[in-house]
């Protein structure tokens, strides 16, 4: 027999759904999260801002860049809300825009660095995230960008593999592969250091 569930995020309320057993709850939570309808962009902000900045700080390498990118994405969301609110998953849209902003920023930095090197000037290095676990941070930052993004969104952003796949515009299987390879690389690197 199904168990009636009502789920609330900030001011956004999802109508009753059902799970067949409590064991299904985590999966249902992610399904609920994907289909929740937000009344206004502020609801999306309340629900998503902090964890998105946290996850993208790992991708960008510093918190300020991540916060800027996420804020810019929210500005776009506010401006296009009439249209974006009709999307099946406006939150997914915000995540993708924020990630794209970070990629743009990184491309711009590397282009600038290349141009500065061409005219014989030393590019300044971006300020990196400070970490209490420098050993792991060093390994994390040398992961291929896609693996690092998947790790950040999944472990720091608490997104499901399906949500990560949507943000990265790849299949769920690919996300699983990125996560598996990233964890293996981190584990092996850390074991080798011992």
């Amino acid at each position: 027999m199904g168990l009636a569930v009502t789920y609330r995020f900030g001011n956004a309320v999802l109508g009753p759904g059902s799970v067949t057993s409590l064991r299904d709850w985590p999966a249902t939570e992610s399904r609920v999260r994907e289909h929740v309808h937000y009344a206004c962009p502020e609801d999306v902000f309340q629900h998503e801002y902090v964890r998105l900045v946290r996850a993208l700080a790992i991708v960008a390498g510093d918190k300020e860049t991540a916060a800027d990118a996420v804020q810019e994405a929210f500005v776009c969301l506010v401006r296009g809300w009439d249209r974006l609110s009709t999307y099946e998953d406006p939150v997914g849209w915000v995540r993708r825009v924020a990630l794209n902003k970070i990629r743009q920023h990184q491309r711009s930095l590397s282009r600038q660095a290349r141009l500065l090197l061409k005219i014989g000037q030393e590019p300044s290095l971006p300020v990196e995230l400070r970490s209490s676990d420098p050993e792991l941070w060093e390994r994390l930052r040398t992961l291929p960008p896609k693996q690092r993004t998947a790790v950040a969104l999944h472990y720091m952003g608490d997104l499901t593999a399906r949500e990560v796949a949507h943000v990265m515009h790849v299949s769920e299987g690919t996300v699983d592969q990125h996560l598996h390879r990233a964890l293996r690389a981190l584990r092996e690197a850390l074991e080798a250091e011992r």
């Binding site: 801002y49 918190k63 500005v75 401006r79 249209r83 997914g92 500065l116 792991l136 472990y155 720091m156």
Partner: protein
């Protein structure tokens, strides 16, 4: 606890503290500011209020592709864009080659040299030299040379002087470097522009400097037959923004008779 679980716990240790207080208000304010009312900032003749929503939608759509768009459609769109870019590059190259040869009309800014006189720039009376294009990129009186390679010391010095004067907006030096009926074809501008006459050329370059645009030589200048080319990095207020190539044709007095600029400014 398994090894993976321990690693996941360590990864959670990277979570940074985020303070959302006041951020939402800032976002709302920015969104309001960036929402330009129809017609604002545009001349009355260019107002198109009914088109603005469509423009906004395009801008937003560029941030992230619309959801559920089939992959094949996206690929087709990319292919179309690629074809347009390739065609554009081909047409641009042909146009540039054509301009190097005979210089057809593009957009002529003006040929009236009354705007800036030597007196007004502090320069003494100029003896106008006949600006017959010469077949060498060397110094005055130098015999024409064929082929390509390094440029003479004099030409290098002229280019260095030009770069410095350009970046400083030094009207006097620029006035001395260009021939009286000099022409500048600027392919970085959109649409490409042709500026004729020393006064207009100097005025335009002074405008670049006022806007904070500067050039830094990227490598040595090279001579290609009758022309000297200098690659540069374009900076805007000190920040690298793109790359360009300046091509100069000097007259028999070593003054710039014709100057082409091509390149790309990438606004980020």
């Amino acid at each position: 606890m398994s090894e993976d679980r321990r690693l996941e716990e360590r990864l959670k240790g990277f979570l940074v503290s985020v303070e959302p207080t006041g951020v939402w208000e800032a976002i709302e304010n920015r969104a309001k500011k960036e929402e330009t009312p129809p017609g604002e900032g545009l001349p009355a003749s260019r107002e198109a209020p009914e088109e603005r929503p469509a423009i906004r939608v395009t801008a937003v759509a560029r941030e992230a592709p619309a959801q559920k768009r089939p992959r094949s459609l996206r690929l087709a769109a990319y292919a179309c864009v690629a074809m347009v870019l390739v065609a554009g590059a081909a047409v641009g190259t042909l146009e540039a080659v054509e301009h190097l040869g005979k210089g057809p009309d593009i957009l002529v800014i003006g040929d009236d040299t009354a705007g800036i006189s030597p007196g007004s720039t502090g320069q003494g009376a100029q003896t106008t030299s006949p600006t017959q294009p010469v077949t060498t990129a060397g110094t005055a009186g130098e015999a024409p040379e064929a082929g390509q390679g390094a440029v003479s010391r004099e030409v290098k010095a002229t280019l260095q002087q030009w770069l410095e004067a350009n970046n400083a907006g030094d009207i006097n030096t620029l006035w001395a470097l260009y021939a009286e009926n000099a022409m500048v074809d600027d392919f970085v501008a959109s649409p490409p522009t042709r500026t004729e006459g020393r006064a207009h050329v100097v005025g335009m370059i002074a405008y670049w400097a006022r806007e904070g645009l500067a050039f830094t030589a990227s490598g040595e200048p090279v001579r290609f037959g009758d022309y000297v080319a200098q690659a540069v990095i374009i900076t805007g207020d000190g920040v690298p923004m793109g790359e360009a190539v300046h091509v100069f044709e000097l007259d028999m007095d070593g003054k710039i008779a014709h100057h082409w600029v091509t390149g790309e400014i990438r606004a980020d």
